[in-house]
Symmetry: C2
Subunit: 410 residues, 2 copies
């Protein structure tokens, strides 16, 4: 069995490797604090007996050789960085469970046919450079020499400059060849409330949703709150709220849990309590496992905007800032996760991830799967994020059994 | 006839008495710039032959004695201060039209039975201290010695300290006795679009609306935009927009031009495009000439909030920050304005003022009336504020004729 005390002890160690912050944990890539976290992770891997290395963008690996030569590695892990004032489980749960899997193998004397690699990735959250999924994009080769110069921190320092003072000597290339890796498995807390709500142990992630980000601008006409009668107004706030309301209602009614639409940022101008707003700008974050749902929702927003323009006498502009296709994860490994759950007597459900993960990037090169475990109320990117010991144990057991099954099958 | 060239020339002089600002005019009370404006106004009054004085809070007066002794004065004017980056007509139009009325009397050799006083009031906009209608509240005695110490600028300097370096020698008391004033007439641009929209020359102001200011807080539960399915959300933005939409629709449908409800300020927390908002705070500015309409609207918002709480799974708190009763202006003087319009062949309509004015304060002590003239698109508190020469001329003629009728009648 996975030893949940060891998993928790590792999570607690990482909890204390943080920059000073009011609450929670701040461990941003390429900082002194991140170096401490990364070195602690390397020490853990060394103690287990793994061969440790670090690559040219700070991803760290621990490798356990398999019984057969020249086979590709089964890789598992997650990111070691956090957002500012983060919880203790996002990323780290998956990294330390992969570590525990290696420990279990060593303890039980289990030797896989394939090598097993534990990985701790760099800057998945993108807090340092505003570039998410950084480490994994160098592993897959989506990023390379060009990005070392083009990716800069807010002070204008390039990644190439920054890594120079950060990295130890003797680092290996970040890019991995096709035949080096058999598969990637990432355990992560769900960061949503579904598993807890349905009282389910394990989420088998079928895919990662596609995302589109819109900026909507509603232009009205400013006026004094007391002197312009309601029928003569061109109130940007009224127009915007009418549209936001329609978007939320329509998405809930017609897509239920098949798509999300979120207005997280909204600004009124001039923003005085006694002024009719002349302008309102808001964002819409639309996600779904089917791109057609996203496109339908964008189309709905465009159509509904024409209605709101007429009703509220405003002008609405919609700008699509980005549009990312959904990703399908590997179905065969998903089936192995399912079989492991059945064998272990854990409840499970298939689901999509609404958040991006390194698995999303790595799936473009290698068969990739994700195991979700429940977190309390779905709270994440927040000091209150909490994953129970039971959930960690079941997640780790599922990961261990799936890796063994995967090794056996290939 | 009123000489509109002189009126425009005075307005243009004041247009250039401004602190440096990107556009428009900034002339805030008790500043060097305000002193220039106030001195220019005093010079104009002296040139006409009025007896000029300044009171202890910087209100300035020019007095033309009447033919009979011991009669109370007919007073007319408006404020000389502006908001930041203001238009050229708000306040000044009424002050310079009163000036023109005095000029017309002198030129025509018209001597009223009553004294005629032109007044330029201080800090009506409240930009310096956050205290609107300052000068007129000292004239009526609503404010006195206590307020000289309690009213402070953002740096903590009291009005008593500030006026010391601002005022000239030989100032008179601000408080006016009951029998000193017969009536107050204020000409002002409408600051709304109604007169322009209906192509009407003169607005006869029957009253000034009552106002209530609410702060509404919608509490939801934060979450990741991608991981919380729509049906499980407690989205503060959705709840707030649903409520704002209802308020605007209900007020438009049920009150048309009898009440206004304005949401001018709205803030989302945490305010990230990929976060479900946990909290939304917005203001509601409600105005009507009938307090019962305001109370009904507050009651509607409370009731509708209970519905939104259920529908959106949020908690809504409503705080009533202020509640000011509507003011009725003097009907007899209103009738004299109407007769003047009829005599002059000007179109007119009775209306309420949605904005506060010095007339509101002075009406608590003396019979008070207001004459509105159209401004382009109702734009005010904005460099684009514009009142046509024709509107100024008709307004000034109406004011002149009404003052003569009032003098004759009393």
């Amino acid at each position: 069995m996975a030893d949940v005390k060891r998993i928790q002890s590792d999570i607690d160690k990482f909890r204390h490797i943080t920059e000073p912050c009011d609450a929670g944990i701040t461990r941003i890539g390429f900082t002194e604090t991140y170096r401490q976290g990364s070195d602690y992770f390397k020490d853990c891997m060394k103690k287990i007996g793994l061969t440790v290395r670090e690559d040219k963008v700070g991803n760290v690996y621990g490798r356990l050789e398999g019984s057969e030569k020249n086979l590709p590695a089964i890789m598992s892990g997650s990111h070691l960085d956090t957002v500012r004032c983060a919880g203790a489980f996002d990323g780290i749960a998956g990294a330390v469970c992969a570590l525990e899997v290696a420990r279990m193998m060593k303890e039980k004397g289990v030797v896989l046919r394939h090598p097993f690699e534990v990985v701790g990735t760099m800057e998945e959250e993108g807090t340092r450079f505003g570039q998410v999924l950084l480490g994994s994009q160098f592993i897959t080769g989506v990023f390379g020499g060009k990005e070392l110069d083009s990716i800069k921190d807010p002070e204008g320092n390039t990644l190439r400059e920054i890594r120079r003072s950060y990295l130890p000597r003797n680092v290996c290339p970040a890019y991995r060849k096709d035949d080096e890796i058999l598969a990637f498995l990432e355990l992560h807390d769900e960061q949503g409330p579904v598993l807890e709500d349905e009282n389910i142990d394990i989420g088998i992630v079928e895919g990662i949703v596609g995302i589109s980000w819109l900026t909507v601008t509603v232009n009205g006409f400013a006026g004094h709150a007391g002197t312009v009668p309601m029928p003569l107004r061109q109130d940007a706030a009224t127009g915007a709220c009418r549209l936001v309301n329609s978007i939320a209602l329509h998405t809930s009614r017609c897509y239920a849990d098949r798509a999300t639409a979120t207005v997280g940022k909204l600004e009124l101008l001039p923003g005085s309590s006694n002024c009719i707003p002349s302008k309102c700008t808001f964002t819409v974050d639309i996600r779904s496992a089917q791109m057609s749902n996203i496109d339908e929702l964008i189309e709905y927003i465009r159509k509904e905007s024409r209605e709101v323009e007429k009703e509220c006498n405003v002008e609405i502009n919609i700008y699509v800032n980005s549009r990312k296709e959904p990703i399908k994860l590997n179905r065969d490994i998903g089936n192995l996760i399912q079989k492991s759950c059945e064998k272990l007597g854990y409840s499970y459900r298939k689901m999509n991830s609404g958040a991006g993960h390194d698995a999303m990037v790595l799936s473009s090169r290698w068969p990739t799967a994700m195991i979700f475990i429940p977190c309390r109320k779905g709270i994440t990117h927040n000091p209150e994020e909490y994953v129970s010991p039971g959930a960690l144990e079941k997640g780790c057991e599922t990961l261990y059994n799936t890796i063994l099954a995967l090794d056996h099958k290939n």
